[in-house]
């Protein structure tokens, strides 16, 4: 099927003329070099009995099951429980694992707290280090050359482009995660959330707030 006429069912997304909106997702071009390399190595590892296709699938599934929602739960607990917050800021890995989020083996984890006077923004200028074991796969822009270079030299400009306006009096502290620790930001708790429970608070905390390019959602907005 192609074009608009073949598309009779009832929904309202736009359809560019001349293109089948429901075409199968396929690689249009010849696979690139590293894709071919990965396929060849994977086939060899399976053939030699080092790995099984099922083990690879399971690992991919487990990786995809890690989402920023975990980070949101961690941050929400820190907002309601001062002892947990102190633990998180002192030994993030242990604190996070106490909630049942297994982030071992892997690099250590550190949490940095945003306050009224200081805002943290996380980047990895050397590659794309990210607390994957807790938050899952990083967004594509986090790995882009533009973000990685501009976040350090012009963090205020980058924040503005993300729609995050901070007062000039706030210290912006860029965290370049260059080595063996991964960083999560503990955002500021928004006003008007007194009496909210952990689950309610967690809905205000997004991936971008945990990276520091945004603030926790304002319930009044």
């Amino acid at each position: 099927m192609s074009g608009r006429d073949a598309h009779a069912h009832d929904h309202d997304h736009p359809h560019p003329a001349g293109r089948d909106p429901h075409a199968a997702v396929e690689d249009a071009e010849t696979p690139r070099r590293f894709v071919l390399l990965e396929q060849a190595i994977r086939a060899l590892l399976i053939e030699k009995g080092v790995l099984t296709a099922e083990a690879i699938r399971r690992q991919m599934e487990s990786t995809d099951a890690r989402t920023p929602a975990r980070g949101a739960q961690v941050a929400a607990r820190a907002w309601v429980d001062p002892d947990f917050k102190a633990w998180l800021l002192g030994d993030a890995k242990a604190a996070v694992e106490s909630m049942g989020f297994d982030i071992s083996p892997g690099p250590g984890l550190a949490a940095v707290e945003n306050t009224e006077t200081r805002h943290h923004l996380v980047v990895c200028t050397l590659c794309s280090c990210y607390p994957r074991k807790l938050l899952g796969i990083p967004p594509a822009w986090y790995k882009s050359r533009a973000y990685r270079s501009r976040a350090v030299i012009d963090p205020r400009g980058v924040l503005e482009e993300f729609g995050t306006d901070l007062p000039a009096a706030t210290e912006i502290r860029v965290v370049d995660s260059t080595a063996d620790l991964r960083y999560m930001v503990l955002p500021r708790r928004p006003r008007g959330t007194a009496g909210w429970n952990e689950a309610q608070l967690a809905t205000l905390i997004t991936r971008d707030a945990l990276i520091g390019v945004a603030l926790a959602r304002d319930p009044a907005a």
Binding site: I153, R173, V175, D176, A179
Partner: protein, 138 residues
């Protein structure tokens, strides 16, 4: 070498090849030890299937943005990065002192050299630049 919190340190200007964990923009800069993060197997060795021993102490080092980027608009903003001990030296050490004695001259000379390189690059690409351009097209 053990560095203490609050100590002023210099990032060495080494240029080793390979899997370095110290970004170029911090090399030669002065910062303050923010925290001792513990000892880790040296990732710059681990990357090449070596043991990574002896372990290296990792420090969180704080820099003023204004120091890193002279045209940075705010004197308030900072940057922290995690840097291994073998990249750091106390700012009072002899090589650091020499660097601090003639900062203006060194910067001026560097700017001049940079401008010259830029001018050359515009008119006549070096063979290295040509190679890179060809490599990218491929």
């Amino acid at each position: 070498m053990s560095l203490r919190e609050g100590q002023t340190v210099h990032v060495k200007t080494m240029v080793p090849t390979g899997h370095c964990r110290t970004p170029y923009y911090l090399r030669g800069k002065t910062g303050t030890i923010e925290a001792d993060l513990g000892a880790f197997l040296n990732p710059e060795e681990l990357a090449y299937h070596k043991s990574g021993l002896p372990k290296k102490i990792l420090y969180r080092v704080r820099f003023d943005q204004k120091h890193l980027w002279p045209r940075y608009p705010s004197a308030r903003d900072t940057l922290v990065a995690d840097i291994y001990e073998h990249w750091l030296e106390p700012a009072g050490a002899a090589p650091a002192k020499r660097a601090a004695a003639k900062p203006a001259k060194r910067t001026a000379a560097r700017t001049k050299a940079k401008a010259k390189r830029r001018a050359t690059a515009k008119t006549k690409p070096t063979s290295k630049a040509k190679r890179t351009a060809r490599g990218r097209r491929r």
